[in-house]
């Protein structure tokens, strides 16, 4: 209900006070980040593999969507779906399979190499015909189709598309993680040998986790292009990749709630830091100190992420409504 009414809330006298139109865009980006972070969490929180290269996957899919829709005349939604699928396959085959032998920091740095090298690849002369070089590709505003155009503007339409995509993908995510496949991911994280000896084809599932995770990154990337209306080789970089990881650790590994909190973090971080710096006048140069200190404070206070904090049976009285059971990786 709330989700459906959201874009209009700011027109209500009551909500006007604290919800600008801008919040619609915020909420849309939240949905995009949520998709990306669900994938990230599947990879890191569930199957225990750390990637610093996720932004490259998002970027790749954004580019693919851009090329398909702007140069080959694909309908935007088809382009997003196709890019998602293509990213999934790329992530599965070219990253997931080679990554099977790598662990921990070794995997992290190998994927981080991908992230550093990717913008250079996008700018290759031999590819500029498609990628348009450093200047990137423009999208433009997406207008709602047909009769919807009378009630919604482009921004509201994007909100519904992104949010419903996020909701659907979240449900599918929950289904997957509560199945044989999802259990295999968690099992191989907890004990690789144990999982293998229980019949889990560990290399296959490790690569599969990359594949599924890339699918989410891909859909997120396609939407990123649609929502932002632009993509360039520098649109997402290493810092974004690292902050995806920061977001899920702070949100909470191995749970949907963790990804949601993480997406909120990504959506509001710059604003929050801005506000924080505002408290101390003239402390612009200290922004990063505030930022770093708050990251540390959060992780010290919530070593299992913010979601982990809520998953503890904190309030035994609320057992019947135990968030933890609802969201955690254990079905």
């Amino acid at each position: 209900m709330f989700l459906v009414a959201f874009p209009f809330l700011h027109e209500w006298p009551f909500f006007r006070l604290f919800l600008g139109e801008y919040r619609t865009f915020n909420a849309t980006m939240f949905a995009v980040w949520l998709l990306v972070l669900l994938g990230m969490n599947l990879l890191t929180g569930y199957s225990g593999q750390v990637s610093f290269g996720h932004a490259a996957l998002v970027l790749a899919s954004a580019y693919l969507t851009a090329v398909l829709s702007q140069q080959y005349g694909f309908p935007l939604w088809g382009a997003i779906g196709l890019s998602g699928a293509a990213t999934a396959i790329v992530g599965w085959v070219t990253i997931g399979i080679p990554a099977v032998r790598l662990r921990g920091p070794y995997l992290a740095i190998a994927t981080f190499g991908l992230m550093l090298a990717f913008p250079q690849i996008l700018k290759l002369n031999v590819l500029t015909q498609w990628t348009q070089g450093a200047l990137g590709i423009r999208g433009g505003v997406v207008e709602p189709p047909g009769f919807l155009g009378d009630v919604l503007d482009g921004r509201e339409w994007m909100y519904y598309v992104a949010m419903s995509m996020a909701v659907v993908m979240t449900v599918l995510f929950l289904n997957l993680t509560r199945s044989r496949t999802g259990r295999a991911f968690v099992a191989l994280r907890d004990s690789e040998v144990g999982a293998e000896q229980m019949g889990v084809d560990v290399p296959k599932y490790k690569a599969l986790a990359f594949g599924v995770s890339s699918l989410y990154a891909g859909i997120g990337g396609g939407l990123f292009f649609a929502v932002q209306g632009f993509v360039s080789p520098d649109s997402l970089g290493l810092i974004d990749s690292i902050f995806f990881l920061v977001a899920i650790v702070i949100g909470g590994l191995g749970s949907v709630l963790g990804s949601i909190v993480g997406a909120l973090f990504l959506t509001f971080q710059s604003e929050a830091i801005s506000a924080l710096a505002g408290f101390v006048p003239g402390a612009n140069n200290l922004r990063n100190v505030f930022y770093g200190a708050s990251l540390i404070a959060v992780i010290v206070l919530f070593p299992k992420g913010i979601a982990g904090f809520f998953q503890r049976p904190l309030w035994p009285k609320l057992r019947g409504w135990n968030l933890g059971r609802l969201w955690s990786s254990r079905s």
């Binding site: 209009f8 006298p13 450093a134 990137g136 649109s235 710059s270 801005s274």
Partner: protein, 394 residues
């Protein structure tokens, strides 16, 4: 929406009877935090205008600075927030090409004036009809390249030229200009590019050295240029002349490379230099920086900030008391022969020319200062796409 919105009190966003709200995105933090100086100097200038002149046309200027840390997705968040939540009247001097590229069309589509972007990408100025909202601020890279290329052609005819550029639009535009400027006066025997995250440019310099280059044209940040020139001078004992983009012809480069090492490097200048303290306008600038920015002396970046401030002031003044966004755009594209206090040449704009300063003087590094020589060179009124050497006037 289903619910009738209450009648807007201020029909023009960011404009009230006694205030106009402007905003910018910049890097207060992150790898290029040094450029935060610009926005802070603009703000200082606006404060000065508010205090000494009561603002412009009876309205004081409020300037909102948002820090995107040079991350494009953050730029989008923050610029949308500025426009939709803080309701700024116009965006001024957005900083960074990758960051600003991510929002330029958004501002365009929403009719938000996007004044005097803080880079020389031709993207901002090459097609004012398609993007009427956006204006450049420094000579665009192609134009600058043509002027410097022309200088190379005249000074080193018949020799071998090497090109070094950052692997993005900044480098590519610059090299386009250099080629046009050089024409066939020199042979280009080496072309090297580097990435923003390259640590040093030694390998590129080595290659040009091996190719037997006599002069190098380089489009790089101060940090990168410093490593290149230091490597040539100190490690290769190679005193090849460098011709440098104006982006790096400043005090930062002097500090990073050391004055002896960059001696003789040639570039372009369109503003007075911070060391010209005998010039009353520069002296005034230093005072302004001390009074409104706190503490230290001005530098290239703050001078540039003041230039932007003056341009905005002029545009607002021309837009008159009845401020509208359309009015502001019209005003900003009708500036003729405006000399800002620290400019070396006039500012001219028109509906087909959103490139305010088109030209400048050649400068040479001498004893750690960039000293002007020769005449004012401009390419006034020509769009970067079509521009050729013939368009230059002295």
């Amino acid at each position: 929406g289903e619910f009738p919105a209450p009648v807007e009190e201020a029909p023009v966003p960011g404009v009230t009877d006694d205030e106009v709200v402007l905003g910018t995105h910049t890097s207060l933090t992150g790898p290029v935090a040094v450029y935060s100086q610009i926005a802070l100097a603009i703000n200082a200038y606006f404060e000065y205008v508010n205090e000494t002149k009561g603002g412009v046309n009876g309205r004081t200027i409020k300037f909102l600075i948002e820090d995107d840390g040079y991350s494009p997705p953050k730029t989008v968040d923050l610029v949308r927030k500025l426009v939709e939540e803080d309701r700024i009247f116009a965006l001024v001097n957005g900083f960074g090409t990758p960051t600003h590229l991510q929002v330029v069309d958004y501002l365009q589509e929403n009719g938000v004036p996007d004044l005097f972007v803080a880079t020389g990408a031709t993207e901002w100025v090459k097609d004012p009809e398609a993007r009427p909202m956006v204006f450049g601020s420094i000579p665009n890279y192609v134009g600058e390249g043509i002027i410097l290329g022309q200088h190379i052609a005249e000074t080193y005819p018949g020799l071998k030229l090497g090109l070094m550029s950052q692997n993005d639009d900044f480098g590519a535009d610059g090299m386009t200009g250099i080629r046009r400027g050089v024409g066939d006066a020199l042979d280009i025997v080496g072309e090297e590019t580097h990435e923003v995250l390259d640590v040093d440019l030694a390998s590129q310099v080595d290659r040009l050295h091996a190719a037997g280059v006599d002069v190098i044209a380089i489009w790089a940040t101060p940090q990168h240029f410093a490593t290149a020139v230091k490597h040539a001078r100190l490690n290769l004992n190679w005193d090849v002349p460098f011709v440098l983009s104006l982006v790096s012809a400043n005090e930062l480069t002097v500090l990073l490379a050391g004055p002896e090492v960059i001696e003789g490097t040639v570039s372009l200048g369109y503003l007075k230099s911070a060391f010209e303290i005998d010039d009353p306008d520069v002296a005034k600038h230093h005072k302004l920086v001390q009074d409104y920015m706190g503490g230290e002396n001005g530098n290239t970046l703050t001078l540039y900030g003041q230039y932007i401030g003056e341009l905005v002031e002029e545009s607002l003044r021309r837009a008159g008391r009845d401020l509208t966004r359309e009015g502001l755009i019209e005003a900003a594209e009708s500036i003729t022969d405006f000399w800002c206090s620290i400019c070396l040449g006039p500012v001219n704009t028109s509906p087909t020319d959103h490139d305010p300063v088109q030209g400048g003087f050649l400068v040479r590094a001498e004893g750690g200062r960039w000293v002007r020589f020769g005449d004012l060179v401009t390419y006034e009124g020509v769009l970067p796409g079509d521009m050729m050497v013939e368009d230059l006037t002295r």
